[in-house]
């Protein structure tokens, strides 16, 4: 059996059998599910006032009935006598009004509705309003269609998809809640994987060195096989953990939440999930997104893991490794800062460049992807990332093969440079 495979297997089994691995793998989804249902819980049990939504309905066919509806969450106010411009001026941020719902003349036919919000909207609110409007429009259309004969024709005729297109009332560009949440989750996931598993590589190299297992290992395989096996083994652990999380989170929200909470919370949560998946499937890339995610996780992790391995080989204790770790963390932190800024506008040149630079691209690009990024940008970014990964691995291997045999003080930058040039 190939030696790299043997080492991968050893690293993988040692880590996945650890209690700490099993515990974090089980607890993380609980936290995630908790975070997911918290907004639903608040929406249902929240004591906050119901949100007031002003309606400007140019067709005049929806607003009267919509104004009749009052739910715990939403209260509609019909102001169709105003033009939409007037309404947006009057009901600004200071008015205490949550949003202005604008239906143009065609809205009652095509279901395209605009929402101008003064504070951040949520998928649940939007879904609720869409459902209300849908019901009214379909009701109206049904009334028109009754004289007809063919019931199927009637059903086909009345079916109306209501799409709410949201933008900020003050004119600034609006990030949809779903894109925002998805981008944030993906970006943070990449950040976590790179930092936690990257440092695992560093710690593991240092431990192997200080326990002198390294001496036995290098008389059985080459340093490169050892480094590659370790990095790939840990990468396999990371991917396994993410796969388990994905399965557990989906299973928990499908089966556990309906068990534990009232139907109202469950359906609200379900609606959020549905809207999440709707967003994904509407833009047609749930599978593509997964592929990108795996590519960026692997590329980002491998890039940093090789650097962490080289750093680990150059020190004798994990404490000494902290100094290198601080430096390695800098581009990662920078990536997080840039990621936060892209939620304002995912298409600035800063966002674009940082999703090309390989040391920040895994975090920045994966957070941008939900907003819809040209495919060529993603491909170029991935090519740069994997090209750099090959380069850093080559450099890291050169440092590693010498570093693992040096004991005593922490290597200086000059020594690292010498190791790099040693034949």
């Amino acid at each position: 059996m190939n030696k790299i495979l043997l080492i991968i297997q050893r690293e993988f089994l040692e880590r996945t059998r650890k209690k700490s691995f099993i515990i974090t793998t089980l607890i993380m989804p609980l936290i995630m599910v908790g975070l997911m249902i918290a907004p639903s819980l608040m929406a249902v049990y929240g004591t906050g006032d119901s949100k007031q939504v002003v309606i400007v309905d140019e067709s005049g066919t929806v607003a009267p009935q919509l104004a009749q509806i009052a739910t715990p969450e939403i209260k509609y106010i019909d102001q169709s006598q105003l033009s939409i411009e007037e309404a947006r001026n009057i009901y600004n941020e200071d008015s205490g009004i949550f949003a202005i719902l604008y239906l143009d003349k065609e809205a009652a036919q095509d279901g395209d509705v605009a929402l101008y919000t003064n504070s951040s909207s949520t998928p649940i609110i939007e879904q609720t309003m869409a459902a209300h409007i849908k019901a009214i429009i379909e009701h109206n259309k049904a009334k028109e269609a009754i004289p007809g004969i063919d019931i199927n024709e009637v059903l086909a005729k009345i079916s109306t998809e209501v799409n709410i297109v949201t933008s900020n009332n003050d004119g600034s560009s609006y990030s949809s809640g779903i894109n925002y949440a998805l981008g944030l989750i993906l970006g943070m996931l990449l950040y976590m994987i790179i930092v936690i598993y990257g440092q695992m590589v560093l710690t593991s190299v240092v431990e192997e060195k200080s326990s002198r297992v390294i001496d036995v290992m290098v008389t059985s395989c080459t340093p490169f096989q050892l480094m590659a096996g370790k990095i790939l083994g840990i990468a396999a652990v990371a991917l396994t953990q993410i796969a388990i999380w994905a399965v557990l989170i989906i299973a928990a929200s499908k089966f556990l939440i309906p068990e534990l909470f009232s139907a109202e919370v469950a359906s609200s949560n379900d609606m959020m999930l549905t809207s999440l998946f709707d967003t994904l499937s509407n833009t047609g890339y749930i599978a593509t997104l997964l592929v990108y995610l795996v590519l960026y996780i692997l590329g980002g992790f491998l890039l940093y893991a090789s650097i962490y391995a080289a750093a680990g080989s150059a020190v004798d204790s994990v404490q000494d490794g902290q100094q290198f770790n601080t430096i390695i963390m800098m581009p990662i932190i920078l990536a997080i800062i840039v990621m936060m800024s892209i939620f304002q506008d995912p298409n600035t040149s800063v966002a674009m460049w940082f999703s090309m630079i390989p040391f920040t691209s895994p975090i920045v690009m994966i957070a941008r992807i939900p907003f819809g990024i040209p495919v060529w940008q993603i491909i170029v970014s991935l090519l740069i990332l994997y090209g750099t990964f090959i380069l850093t691995t080559w450099i890291a291997a050169k440092i590693y093969r010498i570093g693992i045999f040096t004991h005593g003080k922490r290597a200086t930058w000059r020594e690292l440079w010498q190791w790099l040039r040693t034949k």
Partner: protein, 308 residues
């Protein structure tokens, strides 16, 4: 017969000191070869150069007459002085892992390891974690991991350190057994007692240099004579004063029956033995003086002190 391993003019410098200075030696095929020397003499450095963990600054290592390669090293068995085992792994799994890295199949490795575990009375530890083992226990596991793939060349760095006398004895027998089955064994030690019993050949390294090499029998014969055990009444201080520069005291004196003390001395060839006897007789109450074959320990001390 061509030696299995040749060390030719190997030197290694670290900033500030020479770890090895032009060391050459030949290890005959099928020998148990001892690398002796005080702590810090350079034994471990030499072993790490042979195993290609460290590169020499000068000289070369030949295995079967050819420059040794990384691939050669992957087939030998090497047990480092500081025991290297994965602490979190279970003993059996770890031994199988190392055996497979050396090219054994899983089934083959497990079968042979089980036999070894039985032999060294550690079969019960198969599923224990390495971190729960004592130093001596971990050492047995390491020993088995080193030899299980039956390499033709075995290198042990200080194999007896950390073992109690009973286990050290077991280890000696196993080393001799491996030799009888055709392996060549090189080991380093500063424990001379182990040398006489199991080594065929030795090299004595002191202060980075090879100061004595050869077969144990020849060395003992060459160094023989002029070593005596003197039984006398004097205390250590006046005994040493009486000898003056004419003889060297070997090791500690010991009390024997009747209030006498026994002290080993070596009288260099250019000194007159009779004069020494006369002086001891006059000053120290000499009772008996017996000539001895030198032990390797004596040879070691004399070689290190430059009085061989």
């Amino acid at each position: 017969m061509e030696p299995i391993l040749k060390v030719e003019g190997v030197s290694k410098y670290y900033t500030g000191h020479k770890a090895l200075d032009d060391v050459s030696l030949e290890v005959p095929r099928g020998a148990v070869y001892g690398l002796l020397g005080p702590n810090g003499a350079g034994k471990t450095t030499l072993i790490r150069i042979i195993t290609r963990i460290t590169m020499p600054d000068a000289g070369r290592i030949l295995l079967d007459g050819k420059a040794i390669t990384a691939d050669d090293i992957f087939h030998i068995g090497y047990m480092p002085e500081e025991r290297g085992l994965y602490k979190k792994m279970r003993v059996g799994e770890q031994a199988i892992f190392f055996a497979r890295l050396k090219g054994m199949t899983k089934q083959d490795a497990e079968r042979r390891l089980r036999v070894w575990f039985e032999r060294l009375n550690i079969a019960d530890w198969w599923t224990r974690r390495v971190e729960d083992l004592s130093k001596g226990m971990a050492q047995k596991v390491q020993f088995i991991s080193t030899v299980v793939h039956e390499p033709k060349l075995l290198i042990f760095d200080e194999p007896f350190s950390g073992f109690d006398p009973i286990n050290a004895n077991t280890l000696k027998e196993e080393i001799l057994g491996l030799r009888d089955r055709g392996a060549t064994i090189i080991f380093s030690t500063h424990n001379m007692a182990s040398v006489e019993e199991i080594c065929d050949h030795i090299t004595l390294i002191n202060r980075s240099r090879n100061i004595l090499s050869g077969s144990v029998e020849e060395i003992r014969r060459a160094a023989g004579g002029n070593t005596f055990e003197v039984t006398h009444r004097a205390d250590d201080k006046s005994f040493a004063a009486t000898l003056g520069g004419h003889a060297t005291i070997m090791g500690e004196s010991r009390g024997v029956a009747g209030g006498y003390r026994a002290t080993k001395i070596h009288i260099p060839k250019d000194e007159d033995v009779k004069q020494v006897i006369a002086a001891l007789n006059d000053e120290c109450g000499l009772r008996a003086m017996n000539e001895m074959m030198p032990s390797m320990n004596d040879i070691f001390i004399r070689a290190v002190n430059g009085t061989l």
